[in-house]
Amino acid sequence: MDIVLRAIVVFFFLYVLMRVIGRRELSSLEPFDLILLVVLGDAVQQGLTQDDYSLTGGFLAIGTIALLQLAVSYTNFRFPRLRWLLDGEPIVVVQDGKPLEKNLNRERVTIDDLMAAARQQNIASLDDVAWAVMETSGAISFIKKPGS
C-alpha cells in the first residue's frame, strides 16, 4: 500500500512543481537540464520504491503514475474549464511585430530567446511576425504577417 501512496504523493508534488517553475524551464533542454532530469529521476526513485527491488513494487509504482497521468489527461479533455489550472494558458508575446515586454518578463524570456525561437522558424525579423504565442508546452509559435 505504501508504494501506491508514495507514487501518488510524488506525482502530485512533481505536477505542482512543474506548473510553478514555469514553462520557460520546460521548453529548454540544454545539456545541464538533461543532467538535472537524470538526477531528479534518481532522487525520486529512492523515495518512491526505497529498498523494494521487487517486480510487484515496480508495477505498482509505474501503474499508479500511469493511471494518474491518464486521469489528469482525461480531466483536461473532459472539463475545459479546468485546463487553465492543469495545463496553463497560452500567452501572446508578440503582436504586430512588437514584443510584449510584460508577458515576456513574466515567463523570463529575453528578446534574445525570442529571436532564437524565431530564427528556428526561418523568421529573420520580428517585423515579419503578426503574432507570437508561447504555448503551454513552453514552445513559441509564430504567425507571419500576410505577404511576409
Binding site: Q46, D51, E89, I91, Q95, R106, A130, V133
Partner: protein
C-alpha cells in the same frame, strides 16, 4: 492589425486578466516549497543527532541520537554512562520505540545479557566502577514503512534501583 489567431482571446492571453496568471498563487506555492526546504535545514525532518543529559548523585547518562528520522536512514545512538559512585549491576532499559520498525545493525560493546522488562528491552551492562565511563554504541536503520511518533525513553538502573530516566520521542517521516 492582423487577424487574431483562433481560440486566442486578447483579454485573457495578452492582457493576462485571468486567475491562471494570478502571480500571488505562484508566489505562495514557491514560498511553501522554500519553507519546506528551510525546515529541512533546521533539522525538522532529521537526521542530525541531539544530546540529552541527565545527571544525578550516583551517575550521569548522556544520550547522543537523532529524534527525527526518515525511512531508510542509518543512524547511531551513543549512550555514555559516567558512574559517580560504583554501579554493581548497571542496566539500561529502552522503551519499545527504540526497536519498533528499526533494524538494529550492531551493538558495541555487547552487553552481558538482554532481556525484557514490562515489554521494554533491558540491557545488562555489568559492573561500572566509581569514576569510570561506559560507552555503548547502537547502530540502526529505519525501516521504510516505519512512520509516526513513538516513545523512545531510556532509564538507567543499578540492579532494581532506578537511577535516572531520559524521556524522549522519536518521529519518523515517510
Amino acid at each position: 492589425m492582423s487577424d487574431i489567431p483562433d481560440r486566442i482571446v486578447l483579454r485573457r492571453h495578452r492582457d493576462l486578466e485571468t486567475v491562471a496568471f494570478h502571480r500571488p498563487v505562484r508566489w505562495v506555492l514557491l514560498l511553501l516549497l522554500l519553507a519546506v526546504l528551510v525546515l529541512g535545514l533546521l533539522n525538522v525532518f532529521g537526521q542530525r543527532p541531539e544530546t540529552h543529559t541527565v545527571d544525578t548523585a550516583r551517575a550521569r547518562l548522556e544520550l547522543y541520537a537523532p529524534s527525527h528520522l526518515r525511512g531508510g536512514l542509518l543512524y547511531e545512538a551513543r549512550f555514555t554512562i559516567t558512574a559517580h559512585r560504583g554501579l554493581k549491576d548497571a542496566l539500561l532499559q529502552l522503551s519499545p520505540g527504540w526497536n519498533e520498525g528499526m533494524q538494529m545493525n550492531t551493538m558495541e560493546p555487547s552487553p552481558l545479557g538482554q532481556s525484557s522488562r514490562d515489554g521494554d528491552l533491558l540491557l545488562d551492562l555489568g559492573h561500572i566502577g566509581a569514576g569510570r565511563v561506559y560507552r555503548l554504541f547502537l547502530q540502526f536503520q529505519t525501516n521504510a514503512t516505519n512512520v509516526g511518533r513513538r516513545r523512545a525513553d531510556v532509564s538507567l538502573y543499578d540492579g532494581a534501583t532506578k537511577l535516572l530516566t531520559i524521556e524522549r520521542t522519536v518521529t519518523v517521516y515517510p
